[in-house]
């Protein structure tokens, strides 16, 4: 069965092609084609997993490669691999895809391009499954790009909405920036190991770790980047804020001047601190960090997180499948798959942990102040992805992946539930909701269960996975800071999620939710399934009987690692953070005991900052998008006036003039020559005709004279 693993991505791909071509005839049945395909993939995955766990796993990872394209020296091979990581990801992707596709039958009902939606979902599933079984960097990159493409297609599914198209473009372009890093990392590994196949690369990674690479002027480059970023921020803030009293950097300065000053100040400080010096790291770390940059883009880590909140413009099933459970997890999966490269030089892992921890907290602060139900969940996703990266970074390979698995279940549940809420109330603004608990019971309870899992309430799936991450962070060789960040993040998570639940479902109905109704069974059944998984899914990682950690472990991929013993203290700490968050949120928003309006003047700036997404979108707009647009205009003008007008039209004009010259030549020289002959003949004729006088005797005379001449000629010869 393991040899048939290549069918797993192929069947949804066939479904995609079938639905594209037969769509108009299939109409509503397109959904069943897609669901049939994914069920087939699920069954094959089950077969593969069974064979792996019970038969083959002791032998090590299975790999199948086939020659694909010739290079000058050797053949590039494509293939797939089956190991614990693969099997785990296969289950996650197929199960969540199934639930989402079933849900979509209800959610997308009546949509004009219903069939096309399922085609795109199938394509996405095919690409994602291909990504998780890929054994070569090339196939991974191809699948990576395909996944990004389907994300664009699905975010922009309702392309008549300009916000949706803008969001789709933004998603694609921002992840593209990350993909450059992935590709450069791929190239680095290929050029230095001579192979694109993972087993071969991993075998050589030790050598790469010894290979020092000096990166000169890192300090200078970072200072310049920080300076430009500071300029962008300052300009954005000043634009948004004007000169409202109490704000930072207000008063007196004009916008641009203030921005430039801010940029220069930050640049100067950064330069002084970072120095001009270079840094020497190993080649393995360089490759790892480049690949990580790709993961930063795809998994929406800081600073490339800006596309994910906007991606919520797409249909909710899309948000659930792609932007919560699977595609964004691709970045985390990539780091896990390439773990030997990261592990070779632990400085790379430190960067991963740092970025993850920062993102976790950064996004959580924004989630607290958002008012769109999907936006809150989007920031939650970014935050949880940060958790996963954090887990991987501190050495918790199993912990990070475990959290990926549980997160997929409860986050998909939350998104599908939010879709149900939006479907039932017609609005996405939580300030317009409330009192839905009685009106939409299935949605409510599954949402609550998923929230509990996300917050890390004891005995839910999320509790076990979060605990694993905290455990790894606690035992990290680099200190306790990541651990405390994790605890703080857990607190914030519980805080914003409880706020969301309270404002959406509890209290008195405000606005349209007065007329809310529960969704159809086809939408609530997947919710229930995912909710059950959100509770039970964690027990594969129960401490002490950690089945998950036994299979998905560092030893399985040939590295040293420790399984940390369960610590009741850490579990309690995590739970306490969660309960604090829930409690605080309840006191603020449910039974308004604590009036936060009294804190408003002091903390209002924080709220504005977070609500404006820390002005990052504006900063990117000023620093990246505007210059790009200007250069676009310049290019367009160049294209229009130089290329089109000067070169193309100019060449045409010159050709026309030359043709006129040739025409003259043709008319006077060539035709003249021809006419010359004609006129010559005419002249000859006009002259010679006088010979014909009509008088016979003169003819006779000519005749005789010529005869005499000829006779003379012959005689005198």
């Amino acid at each position: 069965m393991i040899q048939l693993a290549w069918l797993i991505p192929t069947i949804p791909l066939v479904a995609f092609v079938a639905i594209i071509f037969l769509g108009p005839r299939l109409r509503g049945n397109a959904a069943y084609v897609a669901i049939g395909a994914i069920c087939a993939s699920f069954l094959i995955s089950t077969g593969v997993g069974w064979e792996w766990f019970f038969v083959r796993h002791a032998e090590g990872a299975a790999a199948f490669l086939a020659p694909w394209a010739p290079t000058g020296v050797d053949w590039i091979r494509m293939g797939f691999t089956v190991d614990s990581l693969t099997v785990m990801m296969l289950f996650v992707v197929t199960v969540v895809s199934m639930m989402v596709e079933i849900y979509s039958i209800g959610y997308m009902h009546g949509d004009e391009r219903y069939a096309r939606f399922f085609a795109y979902l199938s394509l996405f599933t095919a690409a994602m499954l291909s990504l998780v079984i890929a054994n070569t960097l090339l196939l991974m990159y191809i699948s990576w790009e395909l996944v990004g493409l389907t994300s664009y297609l699905l975010i922009g599914f309702w392309f008549q909405k300009p916000e949706a198209m803008r969001a789709a473009k933004k998603a694609f372009l921002v992840t593209r920036v990350g993909d450059i890093g992935f590709f450069l990392g791929l190239l680095t590994l290929y050029l230095n190991t001579g192979s694109l196949e993972l087993p071969s690369i991993f075998a050589q990674v030790g050598r790469l770790a010894q290979h020092p690479v000096s990166v000169p002027a890192v300090g200078l480059i970072l200072s310049v980047i920080l300076g430009i970023g500071a300029y962008g921020f300052a300009a954005a803030i000043l634009k948004r804020v004007g000169r409202r009293p109490g704000m930072i950097l207000a008063g007196g300065l004009s916008r641009t001047a203030g921005a430039i000053v801010a940029g220069l100040v930050v640049f100067g400080i950064a330069f002084a601190l970072l120095g001009v010096g270079g840094v020497t790291i190993s080649l393995a770390a360089v490759a790892a960090l480049l690949v990580f940059w790709g993961a930063v883009g795809k998994s929406a880590q800081f600073p490339l997180h800006v596309w994910l909140p906007d991606a919520m413009e797409g249909p909710t099933p899309v948000s659930a499948l792609i932007h919560a459970a699977t595609m964004v997890a691709a970045g985390v999966y990539l780091v896990a798959r390439m773990y030997p490269v990261f592990h070779a030089d632990t400085r790379a892992l430190t960067v991963v942990a740092g970025v993850g921890a920062f993102t976790a907290i950064f996004a959580a602060t924004m989630g607290i102040v958002m008012n769109d139900i999907k936006r809150v969940l989007a920031y939650s996703t970014i935050s949880q992805l940060g958790y996963m990266m954090m887990g991987l970074g501190v050495g918790g390979y199993a912990a990070g992946m475990f959290h990926l698995m549980t997160h997929a279940c409860f986050k998909a549940n939350l998104f599908l539930g939010s879709g149900s809420v939006v479907h039932g109330t017609g609005t996405q603004d939580i300030r317009q909701m409330g009192g839905l608990a009685k009106k939409m019971p299935y949605t409510f309870w599954t949402f609550v269960i998923a929230t509990a899992a996300l917050a890390g309430v004891p005995f839910t799936a999320g509790f076990f996975s979060k605990d694993e991450i905290l455990l790894s962070a606690y035992h990290w060789s680099g200190g306790r800071i990541i651990f405390y960040a994790g605890l703080f993040g857990a607190f914030l998570t519980a805080l914003y999620m409880t706020r969301l639940v309270v404002l959406t479902f509890l209290g008195k109905p405000r606005g349209p939710s007065v007329h809310a109704h529960e969704s159809w069974k086809v939408m609530t059944v997947p919710l229930v399934v995912l909710a059950v998984l959100s509770i039970l899914g964690g027990y594969v990682g129960f401490p002490g009987h950690n089945v998950f950690g036994h299979y998905v472990s560092l030893e399985a991929i040939g590295l040293e690692g420790g399984e940390h013993a369960f610590s009741m203290a850490i579990a309690l700490a995590g739970s306490l953070a969660a309960l604090l968050g829930i409690g605080l949120a309840s006191l603020i928003w449910w039974k308004p005991v604590l009036r936060i309006s009294s804190l408003a003047p002091a903390l209002g700036w924080a709220q504005t900052l977070a609500a404006n997404k820390y002005y990052m979108d504006d900063m990117y707009d000023i620093v990246v998008v505007r210059p790009l647009m200007v250069s676009t205009q310049a290019m367009f003008a160049f294209d229009r006036w130089v290329i089109d007008y000067l070169v193309v039209n100019g060449t045409g004009w010159i050709t026309v003039q030359l043709s006129a010259l040739w025409g003259l030549f043709d008319r006077y020289v060539v035709d003249g020559l021809v006419n010359l002959f004609g006129e010559g003949a005419k002249l000859g004729g006009r002259t010679l005709r006088y010979v014909q006088t009509g008088i016979v005797q003169q003819y006779a005379l000519i005749l005789i004279v010529c005869l005499v001449l000829i006779g003379w000629y012959f005689v005198l010869r």
């Binding site: 006088t693 009509g694 008088i695 016979v696 005797q697 005789i704």
Partner: protein
């Protein structure tokens, strides 16, 4: 003495000179006479001059076939035929134009 051969009295050149003279007179007459009949008569003269030439050679060159004289017979016959045709043309011209002045029959000029 072979048949047809004259006793050697006058050299052959004399006959040829006579023939040439006659030919030239005929030629001159053909080219200058106005009357078409006179032109025809001149042509006859030319033909006969050629006959003299032929017969003279036939007489003075030893030949068993008498080719020259036979040729002269042919020429006489052809001269007769040609005279007939020529006269027919002249008569037609006279019927149309009421004169036979050769220098006035020049409709086929430029």
């Amino acid at each position: 003495m072979p048949p047809g051969q004259l006793p050697a009295t006058a050299p052959v050149q004399w006959y040829l000179i006579v023939s040439a003279a006659l030919f030239c007179i005929g030629l001159f007459g053909m080219m200058t006479r106005r009357n078409a009949i006179a032109m025809l008569m001149s042509i006859e003269l030319m033909l006969n001059a050629a006959n003299i030439n032929l017969v003279a050679f036939s007489g003075y060159l030893a030949s068993r076939t008498l080719a020259g004289q036979i040729f002269a017979l042919f020429v006489i016959a052809i001269a007769a035929a040609e005279a007939a045709v020529g006269l027919a043309i002249v008569i037609n011209v006279y019927r149309t134009l009421r004169h036979v002045n050769a220098d006035e029959v020049n409709l086929m000029k430029w």
